[in-house]
């Protein structure tokens, strides 16, 4: 996660509930982070609405495999819209970490990148090595979207940071940083 948001420039970031929200906070809190603590299955669609509203900004959705699996239809809806400025990245530990590390479908061969590709993400890939991760990073910022990547990670839980769970605060903080005082 730290590598995904390093030198973030004007990147707008949405994190799915659970580990990706904690990892995004651990990588460094930022007003242009929108952290989810619920709304499971909604992260990618929040990214779509944001990408359509801010076509000149790059939008990154970082979410978990369980969260993505709950809202797979979003890949089809994004595939129809073809937003050039949206990247969806799944941090795939093949586990529901929040509920006790039970295996998700991706532990049993479910291929999220193939699903994304079939849904219209022309640029969709699975990242398994450091070299593949290094190759992915510039694409997240520059390659025409919609871009999808699932990054396979180990299911251990490194130290994490809990950001604010005050939804009104993180929403208003995000809007103020992006839009200024205007409503």
């Amino acid at each position: 996660m730290r590598k995904l948001v390093a030198d973030r420039g004007d990147l707008l970031v949405v994190a799915g509930l659970g580990s990706t929200t904690y990892d995004l906070a651990a990588a460094g809190d930022h007003p242009l982070n929108f952290y989810l603590w619920g709304a499971m299955g909604g992260a990618a669609m929040i990214g779509l609405g944001l990408a359509l509203a801010q076509p000149t900004r790059r939008v990154l959705v970082a979410t978990g495999d369980g969260e993505m699996l709950m809202g797979l239809g979003a890949l089809a809806s994004i595939g129809v819209q073809q937003p050039k400025n949206l990247a969806v990245v799944v941090i795939d530990n093949e586990r529901y970490a929040e509920t006790g590390l039970q295996e998700t479908h991706t532990a049993h061969g479910c291929d999220l990148a193939a699903i994304a590709k079939a849904a219209g993400f022309e640029n969709a890939r699975t990242v398994r090595t450091e070299a593949e991760l290094t190759a992915l990073l510039p694409l997240l910022r520059q390659a025409p979207g919609p871009l999808f990547a699932t990054i396979k990670v180990t299911p251990d839980r490194p130290p994490f940071v809990l950001p604010s769970n005050d939804g009104v605060l993180i929403k208003n903080r995000f809007r103020e940083a992006l839009l200024g005082a205007a409503r």
Binding site: G49, L52, A53, A76, G167
Partner: protein
């Protein structure tokens, strides 16, 4: 329409006019017979992004993203879709995202399909329980003012507001 000889209803045009006036830029929808004309008009407006969804809850998340990015949106669905939205509504209510939903009602007036009745009956109390402010259009002439009232409370009050459009207004689906 309840009859082939009736002139086309104008209430969808009235609602469309309010959406334009309220500067709605993102229109999320699951295709629906009752909303056909409104969806077509929104799709025909280059200032609006009309986004077809696979399930209604996607629209709640999408419109939260729209608001984060400074745009206003609307979610169009029928009453059966309300059931798909329940958990995702917590995104709107916890974060106080403005959310405007226009719901065409099924299962309440001359409904031919009993499978529509549970969500027809359930829609108003379920929305209320989820923390949504519920408005209702029982006569076509009330359409514009009701949508405008709901939009105002949603976007000025940072609240989730739904407008239920009675099945009697839409016309009962008839197989011939």
């Amino acid at each position: 329409m309840s009859s082939d000889t009736q002139a086309p209803a104008t209430w969808p045009d009235d609602i469309y006019g309010v959406l334009v006036e309220e500067k709605i830029r993102q229109v999320a929808y699951v295709p629906d017979a009752g909303h056909t004309r409104l969806i077509d008009r929104c799709r025909g407006n280059p200032a609006m992004s009309a986004v077809v969804l696979t399930t209604e809850e996607e629209g709640i998340a999408m419109l939260a993203g729209a608001w984060l990015g400074g745009e206003r949106g609307v979610l169009l669905m029928q009453s059966s879709g309300v059931g798909n939205c329940i958990n995702m509504l917590s995104l709107a209510t916890v974060c106080r995202f403005p959310l405007l939903m226009l719901v065409t009602m099924r299962g309440e007036w001359g409904e031919f399909n009993p499978w529509q009745i549970p969500m027809g009956k359930g829609t108003p109390p379920i929305l209320e329980q989820a923390g949504v402010l519920v408005h209702r259009i029982d006569h076509a002439a009330e359409a514009a003012e009701t949508v405008q009232a709901a939009a105002r409370i949603a976007f000025s009050g940072d609240r989730a507001a739904a407008v239920l459009i009675a099945q009697r207004v839409i016309g009962t689906k008839v197989f011939k």
